[in-house]
């Protein structure tokens, strides 16, 4: 299935666009999406443990609500990746 991941914070370094279009197997959950994002970081920034840790600690949101790792993804879902935050 196709998933659109909207990028924020450090995750913006993963693409020149503001999102990634990913292909995941059917019945995937947020934890599978996280693992795919981890693999993307490892491939794109193999030396950068800082980026890797931030992606591992990221939350994910659907329709502006944080969802659990067990959240069942649907085809064409739009998901935001929310790395550790720190405004103000």
């Amino acid at each position: 299935m196709k998933i659109k991941v909207e990028l924020f914070g450090v995750c913006r370094e993963l693409s020149d666009q503001d999102h990634l279009n990913l292909e995941l197997s059917d019945n995937s959950e947020i934890k599978d999406l996280r693992e795919q994002m981890v693999q993307i970081v490892k491939k794109k920034f193999p030396e950068n443990n800082n980026y890797l840790e931030m992606v591992k600690k990221s939350a994910f949101s659907v329709k502006d609500e944080i969802v659990e790792d067990a959240y069942q993804l649907q085809n064409n879902d739009s998901i935001s990746i929310i790395p550790p935050i720190g405004g103000g």
Partner: protein
């Protein structure tokens, strides 16, 4: 009464905050301004790029405002919260929190509550820029699901 937004550096304005607060005729008001400081992690900071999930940020600001009213038992609360988005140079304003209530004690508690909660749960990110074109996304708080 409450106003919140995520705005470009050119639009963030203490004047706007003051007009909003003054229009509500409260007894006590307090203005907090966050600015970009010159040093962090032993590096010379030249500016910060702020990134924001705008919809979640506004939702978070509204939740914080409503929680503050309940937890602090505020009387006649008024708040204005705006956060900058995009590149903010050294000394530039990143956030304005202007609050007003009936009495002075409550405005200190109200303002402090808002900024501390924003730091813990509002999806805004900082990329610091240093002298020499070096830049770094800062680590922060992991967001958790609300129980």
């Amino acid at each position: 009464m409450f106003h919140c937004d995520v705005v470009d550096i050119k639009e963030i304005s203490l004047d706007k905050a003051q007009k909003f607060i003054e229009s509500h005729k409260c007894g006590a008001s307090l203005f907090f301004i966050g600015t970009v400081r010159d040093h962090n992690n032993e590096k010379e900071v030249t500016g910060i790029t702020y990134d924001s999930h705008d919809a979640m940020v506004k939702k978070s600001f509204e939740e914080i405002y409503n929680e503050a009213i309940k937890k602090l038992d505020l009387q006649h609360p008024v708040a204005f919260v705006e956060h900058a988005k995009g590149y903010v140079p050294l000394g530039g304003i990143s956030i304005i929190i202007a609050v007003a209530c009936k009495h002075r004690r409550q405005v200190y508690d109200f303002s402090r509550f808002i900024i501390e909660e924003i730091k813990k749960r509002t999806p805004i990110w900082k990329k610091e820029h240093y002298t020499g074109e070096d830049a770094q996304w800062l680590d922060g708080e992991k967001l958790e699901i609300k129980k």
